[in-house]
């Protein structure tokens, strides 16, 4: 197990290198030149050259890449090219709000979707199952954009049930005052596909021979459902959960933009808009690391749930 983890960690090095290469190529190619923003509306060629020099843009590409490598090794991405604030501070201030929205959403969504999915899988083919499946399918068919626009307009503005937008420094205020509407809209978007997916996982498991064997042994349906089906069906659930975790850091871009949540998603968009390469680099590297770590974690959890899984 330990050797396996070590090997997997070691395998992350080339992947990370690939990510860096891809990012570097992409943003030197298309990322835009931030010096044209910093220089203002009227400037001389000297000013431009000076700015490029200060940002290190006048160095050769291999040199710039080496700087990038050093930044990744030290996890110090310097200061933002746009606001000149330390990148670490920017990210630190953004991660909190992102998680304040994403974690409750993940937990509530997971809990609700697994329970509902298990119930409808259990009563597979019944009217309840059909209605739930239909509702989910319908709910999934509407664009997230429509939910957000319409939700904010009607629920917050017309009905006045929620504040339009906002964010405070207090976690409690955020949780009970500002989060509910974005959370609700986020749930509407994420719940339906999750229920459908988990339902199919459960049904898949219920069709296996071992379930039939268990039934034949005379075990109660409840025991079969909880002890056998649940346990095995959790594997894909865990995988999909782990795969979605890194995206928590990025947050829900649209929700953040419409509800004034100072999270990571909006920061990415602004950074790209301003060609703020240090911020883009930092976010990408952290997300990539998180993705890889959670993938590893998913595999380990796999093993813990299902001892038959061989870790290669």
């Amino acid at each position: 197990m330990f050797a396996y983890i070590l090997r997997r960690l070691w395998q992350m090095v080339p992947t990370l290198f690939g990510v860096m290469l891809l990012l570097f190529v992409l943003f030197n190619w298309v990322g835009g030149d931030p010096s044209y923003i910093l220089a203002g509306k009227s400037f001389s060629a000297d000013t431009l050259a000076n700015i490029r020099h200060q940002l290190g843009l006048d160095q050769s590409l291999p040199q710039q890449f080496l700087i990038f490598v050093r930044q990744v090794l030290t996890l110090d991405f310097g200061i933002s090219w746009s606001t000149q604030q330390p990148v670490a501070e920017i990210l630190a201030s953004r991660i909190g709000p992102s998680l304040t929205l994403a974690l409750p959403m993940l937990l509530v969504s997971l809990l609700l979707s697994v329970i509902i999915a298990a119930i409808v899988a259990y009563v597979r083919g019944s009217l309840t199952d059909r209605i739930v499946t239909l509702i989910c399918t319908l709910a999934m068919s509407v664009s997230a954009l429509v939910y957000i626009i319409a939700g904010q307009y009607w629920l917050a503005h017309k009905l006045g049930w929620f504040p339009i937008l906002g964010w405070s420094d207090s976690l409690a205020t955020n949780l009970w005052y500002y989060i509910p509407l974005p959370l609700l809209l986020g749930l509407v978007v994420s719940l339906a596909p999750d229920i459908r997916f988990y339902r199919s996982c459960f049904i898949e498991e219920m069709g296996h021979d071992y379930v039939r064997t268990a039934r034949a042994k005379g075990l109660s349906e409840r025991t079969i459902m909880l002890k056998h089906v649940m346990r095995n069906a959790l594997i894909p659930v865990v995988t999909s959960l782990m795969m979605s975790l890194p995206y928590l850091f990025l947050g829900a871009l649209l929700l953040e933009r419409f509800f004034g949540i100072p999270g990571m998603g909006n920061e990415v968009l602004n950074a790209v808009d301003r060609s703020d390469f240090p911020v883009i680099k930092a976010i990408t590297i952290y997300v990539a690391l998180a993705t890889m770590l959670f993938n590893l974690l998913a595999d380990i959890v796999y093993k813990l749930i299902d001892p038959r899984v061989q870790l290669k």
């Binding site: 220089a39 400037f43 504040p163 419409f258």
Partner: protein, 574 residues
């Protein structure tokens, strides 16, 4: 009115010890729709950062809040400066007893504002390591400054070495000597970028001056979450400033949120989560009753008027224009058939329709390079071509832009004709592009769009790679020179984005620099405008009229043509 203003000036001139007037329980909530960048006056140039800087720092002179047209008045000085006969030497006398906001760098001492602080602040704009976006306003302007800049090379400026043109004669006297007379100099100094900074604060926070603004202005920066929230608090050390018998500022705390989407911005104002707000384009008709006979005659929709919401309007000191790259082989050049091509495109663009549909009538067509409200504007001049797509087509026919087999026009020499227009990707830009597409369709000229971020397009334009692009220019100071220089050949590729080069225009421009605002200069400006109209480097756009709203409990709400914000004058009485 006049009397009152003089009284105000007299009272403002009286200074006493600083007294905290602001009520810290009063909070003013406003929003920006674009993220700010930082608060070092020498490092940033965007409007939104400027709005904060304006409230934290004090320039030498500023604008009267009430006077229209805008009038420069002393700010931290006793009076307007004494100017030498040749218009080159300005001597400012500072009011004693003005103190910087408390900050740890001052180690608990009260730090008085001195003439040296202004000298330092101005020199910073020349420092090669700072790369001030405002350096174009000070480069070559002060006697002896060039040698200092040259000596610095790529390194930091030596602030201690004396400069003839920027001199603190004593603690309260600042003497600025210009290389040549400049009638706009005071207006330049009134810009927030030239507010006084304390050298020890700048040096102590050298690595992060953007986050640590320390000034003498009415507010101090309390909290900054880049791109999401800015909180200002009244500066207890602020000098006594009185308007209409009330000590300013009144409001203890200003909270600025960044809200980029139109829907939440507007709904937040309507639901009283914001106290003051502009009206997003989409909400204009929802908020205002616009008289079709005269679209500038607007009033609030009854449902909002009933709530006591206040409406204030101002005409921006700006022009918007679509320029042609005059160095481009297809759309540029001064040959007759090139002028005809540009003229035809201008004639095919349904400008009035865009003003009706996109601006919702809240703009006036531009007819002169200098907009209304800026010295040198000529309201009688009609520079824009008439909308006439049929004549535009006939004009192209005359010059041999024949319609080919594919239904599209070719160049007179038979080569295919395709024009590329640079544009951003926002929804509003898409609305404009639909009209441009319509204009080009009506001319049967192929149009493609080059999409890009602003900085990428700006770079491409400087490298002479664009053909057409839409820009807006807002006044840095309300003088015609700030606009006429947009087509001066020495600014080609920079502020002169069309890279327009015309010897006669240059000659007239250089002559106009030597003149003060008046009939003689206006004549030159008229002649220059005729050249612009004849050569058509620009398609004239429009000048927007902005509406701002405030809830009933916001008092003293008024817009100023040049000041970004008027927070210090505002009171809240809920």
């Amino acid at each position: 009115m006049m009397k009152k203003r003089m009284l105000v000036a007299a009272i403002t001139a009286l200074f006493t010890m600083a007294a905290q007037a602001a009520d810290m329980n009063k909070v003013l909530r406003v929003a920006f729709n674009v993220p700010e960048t930082g608060f070092d006056p020498a490092k940033v140039s965007d409007t939104y950062s400027g709005a904060i800087i304006e409230n934290v720092f004090d320039p030498l002179v500023s604008y009267d809040y009430l006077a229209r047209p805008a009038k420069v008045i002393p700010n931290t000085t006793v009076a307007l400066p004494a100017v030498s006969a040749d218009g080159r030497v300005y001597t400012f006398k500072l009011k004693p007893g003005i103190y910087f906001a408390a900050d740890p760098v001052f180690k608990g001492q009260k730090r008085e504002l001195t003439a040296a602080d202004y000298a330092y602040a101005i020199k910073r704009h020349l420092d090669p390591t700072i790369n001030s976006p405002w350096s174009f306003l000070v480069d070559g302007r002060f006697v002896g400054a060039d040698t200092l800049v040259k000596a610095a090379g790529k390194g930091a400026l030596n602030y201690d070495s004396p400069v003839e043109g920027i001199k603190a004669l004593d603690k309260y006297t600042l003497q600025l000597t210009l290389t040549e007379g400049n009638y706009n100099f005071l207006q330049i100094l009134a810009m927030p970028a030239f507010g006084a900074v304390a050298r020890e604060a700048i040096e102590a926070y050298a690595s992060n001056t953007n986050a640590k603004p320390v000034g003498t202005g009415p507010y101090t920066l309390k909290e900054w979450k880049p791109g999401s929230k800015i909180v200002l608090e009244a500066n207890p050390n602020f000098r006594k400033l009185v308007l209409n018998g009330q000590t300013l500022p009144k409001v203890g705390r200003v909270e600025v949120s960044i809200i980029e989407e139109e829907q939440p911005l507007w709904l937040a104002f309507i639901n009283k989560q914001l106290d003051i707000s502009g009206i997003p384009q989409a909400a204009l008709q929802e908020a205002l009753v616009i008289d079709p006979k005269n679209p500038l005659n607007v009033k609030l929709q009854p449902k909002y008027a009933k709530q006591g919401i206040q409406l204030e309007r101002k005409k921006d000191l700006e022009v918007t224009y679509q320029f042609f790259n005059m160095q481009d082989p297809v759309v540029g050049g001064s040959a007759k058939e090139k002028i005809a091509l540009r003229r035809a495109i201008a004639m095919a663009f349904p400008r009035s329709e865009t003003i009706a549909a996109i601006r919702r009538g809240q703009a006036v067509p531009m007819n002169y390079v200098i907009p209304e409200g800026v010295a040198g504007h000529n309201p009688a001049f009609k520079g824009a071509v008439k909308y006439d797509p049929a004549a535009a087509n006939a004009l192209l026919d005359r010059f041999g832009y024949k319609v080919g087999a594919n239904g599209l026009r070719t160049l007179p020499d038979g080569k295919p004709l395709s024009i590329e227009m640079a544009t951003g990707t926002s929804g509003i830009e898409k609305q404009w592009n639909e009209y441009w597409q319509q204009a080009f369709d009506s001319l049967k000229i192929q149009l493609t769009f080059k999409y890009g971020k602003w900085n990428e397009l700006n770079k491409a334009n400087r490298q002479n790679k664009l053909q057409m692009w839409n820009l807006a220019w807002g006044a840095d100071y309300p003088d015609g020179e700030n606009f006429m220089q947009l087509l001066y050949s020495k600014n080609a590729g920079d502020a002169n984005s069309a890279s327009f080069r015309h010897a006669e225009y240059d000659r007239l421009f250089e002559a106009s620099l030597k003149l003060q605002d008046g009939a003689e200069r206006n004549r030159l400006y008229d002649a220059m405008n005729k050249i612009v109209v004849a050569q058509q480097p620009w398609i004239f756009g429009d000048t927007r009229i902005r509406s701002s709203l405030a809830h009933s409990y916001v008092k003293n709400f008024k817009l100023h043509p040049l000041l970004n914000t008027t927070w210090r004058y505002i009171d809240i009485q809920k």
